[in-house]
Amino acid sequence: MNEEKGVVFKIQRYSLHDGPGIRTLIFLKGCPLRCWWCFNPESQSPGPEIIFYREKCINCKQCVQVCPIPGCLKTEDGINSFKRELCNSCGKCVNVCPTGAMTSIGKLMEVSEVMKEIEKDRPFYDKSGGGVTVSGGEPFMQPEFTRAILKKCKEEGINTAVETCGFTCWDNIEKSMEYIDMFFFDLKEMDAEKHRKMTGVSNKLILENAKKLAAGGKKMIIRMPIIPGCNDELDDLKAAARFIAEELGAVKEVHLLPYEVIGVSKYERMQREYMIGDVKPPSQEAMEEFKGIFEGYNLRCQIGG
């Protein structure tokens, strides 16, 4: 039988923030949303892709010599430049680059390879009640791969969590349900139009899935990023709190994640525009006020993951 394969963006060990105990986070590549504030823009597109870290480049030109596509990698005035739109991700430049300036983001991995990484911190999960959290991108963009990892984890007795944006057909979630101990479900904005504008998709499917999932009996925590000027109006947050309290009866806990400045460099590297410019993180007082709104609906609410 052929093993399920998927594109993994990053595997991060010793995570303390995404579920109980000490955990390994599996970030899968590909996301159906295009949130303006996305912290990991390089995780959005589903396939492996090449990124150029200009600051690591020592101008040795080895990449220019091996690139098969005219004009993709070239030297102008002694400086290397990389045209992403021409790149076919063949990876030849990555192989010769001595510094890691040309780097491939996303790696095609088999479930057994992922499990091998997961198993490495087994003693730490066992001691701390930790386990694995599959995140993204969006895990359900690769539903079979996600399910295969989670199933294997459950067979091995490892605690599992999934962090999802909720924008997927319900069937994908439902088929994996039995292998998942808890969900982190992202909620960005209640207003459908604003949601579409800021994330590229409507929130209709997301809210429907949230309701179905809440009724499914698994532990579920709602996570809301707080992006000043985007979704931090009191009415937005009150609507979200009301929705959670009234429509997602089983959900008792909300995490508010304050926006953190990542700078535009990540977007420049992706040769993309950073839509929210120089937004500042919300103040502690503002966060406390938002927290109060959710607590007003008898929801446990914490700031940060």
Partner: protein
């Protein structure tokens, strides 16, 4: 929130604000004594030197202090030990360096310099270091000068010990004298073997009397001060100190307060005897507990009063300092004195030993916030969660201490060295980490062994690449090395040769110590010196060890991993090309260097193939040294895997290495991964370190990790931290030290040292003021991966 009393605030301030100034009094007294007692055999001479010092040196009592005992003429004035080393004393350039250096600057007043020069003239050729260097054969001298190994108490007395303070408190110096007299009375002096012991026993009696006289002087001074004191409360305190010093350490301690004073006076006497580093306090919470319990039960003292005495004790340990020359200072950045104090762990019969004093010491550490004593917590499977949680809270304060030790592995390693179970359970780290008991005499550091230098020898036919000196075997040129297996065989050959040289070097130093630097004051509290009638330097202790320490394991393993993959598997470049790049210090080979630096399969990332190499080298290190015996009582070499800051000093003598490190840069620290090259997270680096057979390192291992305050924020995170530590220990780790700071903070401290004079970090086995460390060491600390930050 714990707060400092006004008294502790004042004592602490005096320590922080006093600029260290070299004091000449001791040097003058010692020189007079050596001349006066020239005819005496060495043991008697050393005892009489101590006697003269204790009866004539300046003594003082700090304003408001509850404890007495001072080292120099005034607070934080390190004394000079001309019998060890005088090279710097008539070297104006060296003195100028000592005053302005970034690491531990010391003021040397102009008015004492002519005297220093005069003393240097007298001592030249007579000092410990002169006599040590006089016995080195040429091959050893070459290897030593080329940093194949470095610094093994060539300029210092031994130290790194814990004394039998339990016995001191029960018997006092009078009791010890009685024991000595009984021994002398029973001896048949017609037996030459017995006759040989008389010298030590006489010396032992002299130091007991000297100690009693020293305490009497404080009793007199305290009374004098009490008479002049207007403040009634202080007057009563001084009267109490006076009465106490008349009683202890001469007699058994009758209370907790007396017990603490007795131990501190005995400690300072040992510090004055030699300049030995790391005279340790050991299991303070254990030997003090009976006195504490009795006083509390009888209502003689309150818990608050006990805490204040412990806090004063904590401050006091920061008064002691050293004069280090430019070489030695590399090993002791941040003025550590390595006075190790340990709490927790298990009792001799295997129960949890944690008691109220264990917690009060943790509180003292939080309240006093200084860099001494070197403070450690012993944990075992039966330690309570409450104790671990409190330990984590104190670690979170970011003082760089306490270090945490794993009883199960340490005890097993000591039993492998021949200690019975009950004695092994009573171990304490001394100095940095070296485990000891009052029955052990460990010469540590027994030399730092430079593993990357062995690779340099393989690549250069046994030559030092920086000086072209032949320091090892003349083996084949690199062109003729055909496989990685062959490369490793050569590596092992050079390694074995280097160990042989190290062993000879180390034993030669041992022999000189026995002849030149006996330590009778230390010996009377080390079992079984009195019984055997022998000084520690001559093998008087029940167990005798010397500890060679392995340095640069990550530098070496990363280099070997690269050579294996890039030279022999992928054939990206040849060994000759590599050697040429290294010899030119990467000049014109920047692309190759980039490739080396960017190479990912390095130690500290939980890659079995790489970590297995680290394990293999560490086992080789232990196995090779295990083949040999030390001079004292046919004792053993016991390995340690840690560097303090020796990785900087040895780095200075090491050419560029295949991991991309440039010539003269520092080697990797202890068993810590190369700075910034452990990219797979904290757990990965713990697993890599646990793959070394740490049970074999009975002189300890050190793993330093950075951790950010957010990782210890709140009860939930602290529980995960404790789980992480417990897991490392279950995997076979023995020691963990944490620096809880952000890189941002360190950078700011580097730029504005004046704003961060109190910032403390953990360097290897100790904590130091960050701003007193040298820039390379500061840079390395900043670069070390900060786990938990994505």
């Amino acid at each position: 929130m714990l707060t400092r009393s006004e008294r502790i605030e004042r004592l602490r301030k005096a320590i922080i604000e006093n600029e260290p100034v070299v004091s000449i009094e001791r040097a003058t007294l010692v020189t007079e004594a050596y001349q006066e007692f020239e005819a005496d055999p060495i043991l008697i001479k050393r005892a009489k030197v101590l006697d003269k010092l204790l009866r004539n040196m300046t003594i003082f009592i700090n304003d408001g202090d509850l404890l007495v005992g001072n080292q120099g003429e005034s607070l934080r004035c390190p004394p000079v030990y001309p019998e060890n080393l005088v090279g710097w004393m008539d070297d104006e350039e060296e003195m100028a360096r000592m005053e302005v250096r970034s690491v531990n600057p010391l003021k040397i007043p102009q008015q004492i310099r002519p005297q220093l020069k005069e003393l240097a003239q007298y001592w030249k050729g007579k000092t410990l270091v002169d006599k040590v260097y006089a016995v080195f054969p040429d091959d050893i001298l070459k290897a030593r000068k080329s940093s194949l190994f470095s610094v093994s108490l060539e300029k210092n007395a031994v130290g790194h010990c814990v004394l039998d303070y339990e016995k001191l408190l029960q018997k006092g110096y009078h009791g010890l004298k009685e024991e000595i007299q009984n021994k002398l009375d029973k001896m048949d002096l017609t037996d030459p073997k017995e006759l040989a012991k008389v010298e030590f026993l006489e010396a032992a009696r002299i130091v007991c009397d000297a100690g009693i006289a020293f305490a009497e002087r404080y009793a007199g001074l305290a009374l004098e001060l009490a008479e002049k004191e207007a403040d009634q409360e202080r007057k009563r305190e001084l009267e109490k100190i006076s009465a106490m010093c008349r009683k202890v350490p001469a007699n058994p301690a009758g209370s907790f307060y007396e017990a603490v004073q007795s131990v501190y006076l005995a400690h300072i006497i040992n510090v004055i005897e030699t300049n030995a580093y790391s005279m340790s306090f050991g299991r303070f919470d254990q030997y003090m507990y009976p006195y504490y319990k009795k006083d509390i039960e009888e209502g003689k003292i309150t818990v608050q009063e006990v805490q204040e005495i412990i806090n004063c004790f904590w401050c006091k340990t920061n008064e002691i300092m050293h004069v280090d020359d430019s070489e030695m200072v590399y090993f002791h950045g941040g003025h550590p004195f390595g006075q190790h104090l340990t709490v927790g762990g298990m009792t001799r019969d295997g129960r949890d030993a944690t008691n109220e004093l264990s917690y009060m010491c943790l509180d003292a550490h939080e309240i006093v916030e200084l860099y001494q004593p070197d403070f450690s917590v012993r944990l075992h499977k039966g330690s309570s969660y409450k104790f671990k949680e409190r330990t984590a809270e104190v670690i979170r304060l970011g003082l760089g201490l306490p270090q945490i030790f794993n009883d199960e592995i340490v005890i097993e390693s000591l039993m492998n060295d021949g200690l019975p179970l009950e004695e092994a359970r009573d171990y304490t780290p001394t100095g940095c980490v070296e485990y000891s008991t009052p029955q052990c005499w460990v010469r540590s550091p027994g030399g730092w062994f430079n593993v990357p230098k062995v690779i340099e020898a393989v690549l250069h036919q046994g030559k030092c690449a920086l000086t072209d000196r032949q320091i090892s075997l003349n083996t084949k040129p690199v062109e003729e090395i055909e496989s990685f297996e062959e490369f490793m065989e050569l590596f092992k050959k050079h390694f074995r040769h280097a160990v042989r040289l190290h062993v000879i070097w180390s034993n030669l130093i041992d022999n000189v110590h026995a002849k030149v630097m006996p330590q009778p004051s230390v010996s009377i509290l080390t079992d079984d010196c009195i019984k055997k009638g022998k000084d520690v330097s001559q093998g008087g202790a029940r167990y005798n060890f010397t500890s060679p320490l392995m340095v640069g394991i990550a530098t070496a393993v990363d280099s070997l991993s690269i050579i294996k993959k890039k030279v022999f598997e992928e054939r990206t470049f040849s060994l000759r090309e590599l050697v040429e790049a290294l010899d030119s210090n990467f000049k014109g080979a920047e692309v190759l260097r980039a490739r080396l630096l960017n190479y990912p399969y390095r130690y500290g990332n939980d890659y079995d193939e790489v970590d297995d190499m680290a394990r293999e080298i560490s086992v080789l290190f232990c196995d090779e040294f295990a083949k040999y015996r030390i001079s004292r009582e046919n004792g053993k070499f016991r390995a340690g895997f840690w560097s303090v800051t020796a990785n900087f000093n040895l780095g200075l003598g090491t050419a560029a290495s295949a991991d991309g490190r440039k010539a003269k840069e520092e080697l990797s620290d202890s068993i810590t991964p190369n700075s910034g090259k452990d990219v797979n997270g904290l757990t990965a680096s713990l697993k890599s370190a646990a793959k070394l057979d740490q049970r074999r390192a009975s002189c300890g291992t050190v793993l330093n990790r950075h951790i950010t305050p957010t990782e210890l924020q709140g009860a939930d995170k602290i529980r995960r931290f404790v789980d992480m530590v417990d897991t490392y220990f279950e995997l076979g780790g023995t020691n963990l030290g944490f620096n809880v700071v952000s890189a941002e903070t360190l950078k700011k401290a580097q730029q504005n040292p004046e704003d961060y004079s109190g910032l403390m970090v953990k360097v290897a086995g100790y904590a130091a003021f960050f701003v007193e460390l040298g820039k390379p060491c500061q840079d390395a600390l900043i670069a070390r991966t900060e786990h938990g930050l994505s």
